[in-house]
């Protein structure tokens, strides 16, 4: 039932083959929208040497530590709109390259390894010499991790000498050490999120081992399995029961509760996966606490991928212009940093609205009363008085009446709507889109106005038409129609064409084109003549 009068139909050519609808960009999923909502910038670009590790502090304001060359750079997570280096950054107590910064669970201390084999512990809040120096490793220490739970005095470190050490930091003494924990460099390690005594290490000997310092040293490691490639990164997933390991081009997810069963293999990277970290998708609804967790992986091939390990699907993929070595995601969900092999740290920041809200709330809780924000009453003397309510946004509960979407019409459609036929033809001709010209011409035929339009064209417009015909009259899509039109135009406007020099040139071009076309047809016929006997023979 016609509830609405007919819409205006724009003209379209019968011979114009519609292109397939353009592939919608993948921004359609809310996930991709989330990842794209980060504002990108380069955090630090003058570092030159590879950024081997990035680590966010577990407590607000979520500082970032980046290990690069012989220093650990600290960036202020509270700075807005982007991270800014802390005044005492970088921490440069290293004699050689610094590796693997790790924050203590309260964010007050930072431990980092180094090329020299020394593990050092720094204060985060101010500059100064290292508080503790842990000496045991003879080779570079690439793995230094604080436990993630409330254990403030221990940490573990693993080095290229295959030694795994568990330290009591305050006394600078090893509690337990496992010489020859692996048969190759230890390059990856992760502390369990559920118990402070459990940690996993990964090594270039293709194996991943899990350690628990509560059990007697003889029974350690309590679990070990082979990844299949040199392990670059190991990460406990938030439940503590799953472990993600990266090595080679693949990321594998293991179930450690069932004794190291391989659950899933992600083969989405083309080159070695260098680092893993946990991210969280923030939903718009505030009811979600942290949002859904995601596993972020970066690789030498320049891609950062977001992996949903509840559904085992890659949900987003992002390309950077360099080889990626490290990745970090702020626990606040507002910042994401990626370190590259050429010393550039790419940063993505979200606007921190919620952060500020939290801040004010916290303040008011302290004060015990909520200060009324002073509201200025607008008076007619104020300029803004006359603009009040202009930028008002609808509430969720409001019923929004959309203004009817304005129909976008091409220029020639607008003119056709006004029955300005010749003008529509001229506009279409000057736009140089063959299909729209053909569409307008067909519409004019349907209105029986084409020949009248042709008769009314002035000399310049006739030149336009002849040039169009020269270009398109032999294209197979429109040939049947345009050849006839060309003939008609030449018949009707013979006098004008003879009297104008430019038009004569156009007609000469047309002539040449027709000669070429005849030549082509002849050649095609020859070819047809050659092929058809062959086809007949082949048919037998």
């Amino acid at each position: 039932m016609a509830d609405e009068s007919k819409p205006f139909f724009p003209v379209e050519s019968a011979h114009h083959v519609k292109p397939p609808p353009p592939r919608r960009p993948q921004s359609l999923t809310p996930e991709s929208r989330f990842w794209r909502s980060f504002r990108h910038s380069e955090l630090a670009s003058g570092l030159i040497l590879p950024v081997t590790a990035l680590e966010f502090s577990p407590v607000a304001p979520y500082h970032v530590a980046a290990a690069c060359s012989a220093a650990v750079h600290l960036f202020d997570g509270a700075a807005s709109p982007s991270l800014a280096p802390l005044p005492h950054s970088p921490l440069s107590g290293f004699s050689d390259i610094a590796y693997s910064p790790s924050f203590r669970c309260d964010g007050a201390l930072l431990a980092a390894g180094g090329e020299s084999g020394l593990v050092q512990v720094f204060r985060v809040d101010k500059a100064g010499p290292p508080l503790r120096r842990l000496r045991a490793h003879g080779r570079p220490v690439r793995v230094v991790r604080y436990p993630r739970l409330a254990d403030k005095i221990h940490l573990f470190s693993g080095g290229d000498d295959a030694l795994l050490a568990y330290w009591d930091v305050s006394s600078e003494a090893q509690v337990v050490s496992f010489p020859g924990a692996h048969r190759d460099y230890i390059r990856a390690g992760s502390a369990s999120p559920t118990s402070p005594e459990v940690f996993a290490t990964g090594s270039y000997d293709h194996t991943v081992k899990l350690w628990d310092i509560r059990v007697p040293p003889g029974s350690n490691p309590f679990l070990g399995f082979g990844h299949g490639d040199p392990v670059e990164s190991v990460l406990f997933l938030p439940s503590g029961g799953l472990l993600a390991t990266a090595g080679g081009n693949v990321v594998k997810i293991w179930d450690i509760i069932t004794g190291g069963k391989l659950i899933h293999t992600i083969e989405s990277h083309n080159k070695t996966v260098t680092s893993l970290c946990l991210g969280r998708i923030k939903n718009e609804s505030p009811s979600h606490d942290g949002g859904e967790p995601r596993l972020l992986s970066v690789s030498i091939d320049g891609y950062m991928k977001s992996f949903d390990f509840s559904t085992f699907k890659i949900t987003h993929s992002m390309r950077y212009p360099a080889q990626l070595l490290s990745v970090g995601f702020s626990p606040s969900g507002n910042a994401r940093v990626v370190g590259t092999s050429d010393g550039v740290i790419y940063m993505g920041m979200k606007k921190r609205k919620r952060q500020e809200e939290k801040g004010t709330n916290a303040a008011s809780e302290l004060d015990g009363f909520i200060p009324e924000p002073e509201k200025q009453v607008l008076r007619p003397t104020n300029y803004r008085y006359f603009h009040r309510g202009k930028s008002e946004k609808p509430q969720d509960t409001d019923y929004v009446i959309q203004r009817a979407a304005k129909v976008k019409l091409a220029e020639h459609d607008k003119l056709l709507k006004k029955f300005w036929h010749k003008e529509a033809l001229v506009v279409a001709l000057s736009q140089k889109s063959a299909s729209s010209v053909a569409a307008v011409m067909e519409e004019l035929v349907a209105r029986k106005k084409l020949l009248k339009c042709v008769a009314n064209l002035d000399v310049d417009e006739l030149g336009l038409l002849l040039r169009f015909l020269h270009k398109n009259a032999t294209s197979p899509r429109y040939a049947r129609f345009l050849m006839g039109l060309t003939k008609k135009v030449l018949e009707m406007r013979a006098y004008d064409i003879q009297s104008n020099n430019n038009l004569r040139i156009c007609v000469r071009n047309l002539k040449r084109m027709i000669a070429e076309e005849i030549q082509i047809q002849r050649t095609l016929q020859e070819i047809q003549g050659m092929i058809s006997p062959l086809l007949v023979i082949a048919g037998r």
């Binding site: 039932m1 016609a2 509830d3 007919k6 139909f9 379209e12 067909e442 029986k448 084409l450 007949v536």
Partner: protein, 808 residues
Amino acid sequence: MILGGQSLVSSPPVFSHDGKKLLVCTGFTVSIFSTSTGMKITELEGGHTDRVTSVVVVPVAAPSSKFISYCWTSSLDGTICYWDFSVPELIKKVKVQLPIHSMVIPNISCTPIGSSEKTSNHYAFISVEDLTISADENKAFRGQIQIYNLTKSRRVGGLLAETRKPALLSASKNGEFLGITNKRKLDIWKIPSNDFRIDEIKKIKLHHTKKLTAFAFHPKLRMVAGGDVTGRILIWIGVGRRKFSGDSQATNKKKNLTDEEKPGVRNNDDADSCSTWHWHPSEIKFLSFSSDGAYLYSGGKEGVIVIWQVDTGKKKFKPRLGSPLLYFTESPDPSLSCVTCADNHIHLLKMPTMEITKSIAGIKLPFSYPVGHKGLCTQVAYDETAGLIAVPTEDYCVQFFSLFDNHEVSEVQVCKRNFQPVDDVTLYLALVSVSLDGSLMGTVDVKIPEDGLGGLVSLKFWMRGSRIAEYSLSTVIYEPHSDAEISSLAFRPGHRMAVTSSFGGDFKVWIHNSYIKSNDQLHQRTGWRCQSVGSYKGRPMTAAAFSADGSVLAIAAESVVTLWDPDSNLLVAVIGDTHSPITSLSFIGNSEYLVSLTCGSTPQLAVLSTSKLRLSWSYKLVAEALSSSRDTSQFAVLVLLNSQDKVEGKENGVILLFDVEDPVPVATWMVKKAKGGSVAFIPANPSSDEIKAMDGEKPSLLVYVNGDHEYIIFDPHNMDNRIGKSSRTSQIALEEAGLAGMLGYASIYGDLSNLNPKQDQVPEITFAPSERPWETIFNGSSHVLPPLTKLCSTFLASLIEKKPSMSE
């Protein structure tokens, strides 16, 4: 028996006094529609025996009498009826004797019901046709305007006016003025409002130089707007100040005459000034002032409502209503009005924005095909299972209309073009075909070339969506038979296959297939493509039909019928030889017979037997349409009687129901307006209780759609239901005429009915194609033919095989 498809637009609709109902004249009855839903509520029937021409709703004054709803109706049968349309019930009938073409009751608003207890006299002004004067007389005044006292049911006074044709009366809102358009002038009468006396009626004339077609009174001021055939609108201000004002203003009047110029007023008319507005390019069909008098609505043939601001002359437009406009009616509710379109639609408009809220849709009217169009056009196509007819419309749509429910189901826009009602026809829907189960639709639209340039035939295939009669475009095929026109389009029952035949000498079989494009992802696409092409001796193909089981394809190649296997595209047999091109073909149910219709100089209805490959019997008849029932061996033919006198309303067609075995018709019915009509068998609607009352089996019904798209559905086997007089006499007369017109074999040997039992015994041998391969081997288009060497061997082999069988 179900009647339907009446015109909703024969006369202006009227709103009820609360604006919730709309009274529309539909044929012999008045239908009442709800303005909020657009659906029919009830019908005023039984009062009139001819077309109802006008409705006047009695207004109410007191709120207590809100529920009272009365109306007067007038009809061509010469009666005026008084109804209570809320019940609905006929209360009173007044006989006038002469056909009433228009009626107004101006005083009715002055004395509304409920204001006074005593019934005052109602005076109706009626425009009647004087039947005593025949239409042949050139300058005869056939139209008369009479005054009738409805309360006392008698005529009052003499004639108010005489006109050439019965005029359309129109009264002002307050009932003070009454007027008609009379060629180049407006005749306006002032009616005394309080005490009606016939001798107090005064008349003035307003002159113009063009024929006036519409006019309107301003509701408050003495202002009259008139529209003429060229699209101009004239506004007369101060109409009748001289004559209609009382004697008290005589001095004023003299002053006016002497002092003031009267700009624009012709012939010393009684008006102060006359101004002209011009926007409409063609004839104005209606003019109407808004109830407050601030705006004037005008509409014309080009289908645009123009809203004029009366004070300033500024315009606003409501375009693209898609059809010539006829009437505009304002409701008592200021936010509602309706516009009546010539395509049998009434659109309810939400007032300030002129937005269409609801449409009351009747069946769309047939349109005239442009000259130079070859072949048959589909008048209507049937979706038999759903009981729908598909009507190709002038504005490039296919309207689906439910036969049993008598309302529009949907409308499918076939060509994406805006329809301009004023323009010449340059694009039209030539063919529409719906598959048997209604899941597929095919349309053919033709664009007429301008001076040999840019003509285009496009074939479109549509797939039905989830709901009935909701089709979405599947495939467009431009120029399916290069530039030749398509003569017919048929779907194969039970398959997704269609055939088109063209005058260019070939037919194409189209199949629907879905293929999976696997370049990057699984990407399923569906579409129609040509499976095979066939031709027969280069003759134009004029008609095509599939047999009921879909196993045989019959194509009429001008005068012969060729039978094909649709799957392998092999010519199976050739039957018949008529003198003129065959225009229509149909297989009869599950019998082995085929009916063909031939038009032209030697019209013929021929029944062909596919088992014997020859003509069975034939008549020399001008047949308009043909339909065969699917389960029985009957078929119906709509025959035009070539009567010379073209008096309207006379029966000019006959529906003949034949059984295929017997050339004597089973039944005949005389029908009106047969030109452009069509017949079809449809299965009975299970929901209609009328059918349920009969025996358990589902009988098939016959539907007849006449040239104005009015239709009747009846059971051809039930004698009680027949329309018209199923008079024996006419049937006998036809039989004689039919026998005289028999051709060929039938004319010599009579009918072949006694031969039929034999055929029934051997129904297995249907076409026996292998017996005469030399007929079929060399037929077919060149690309289908195998090389000659292959053909030769089969040809010889067939000859060799033939011998022993012959000797046996």
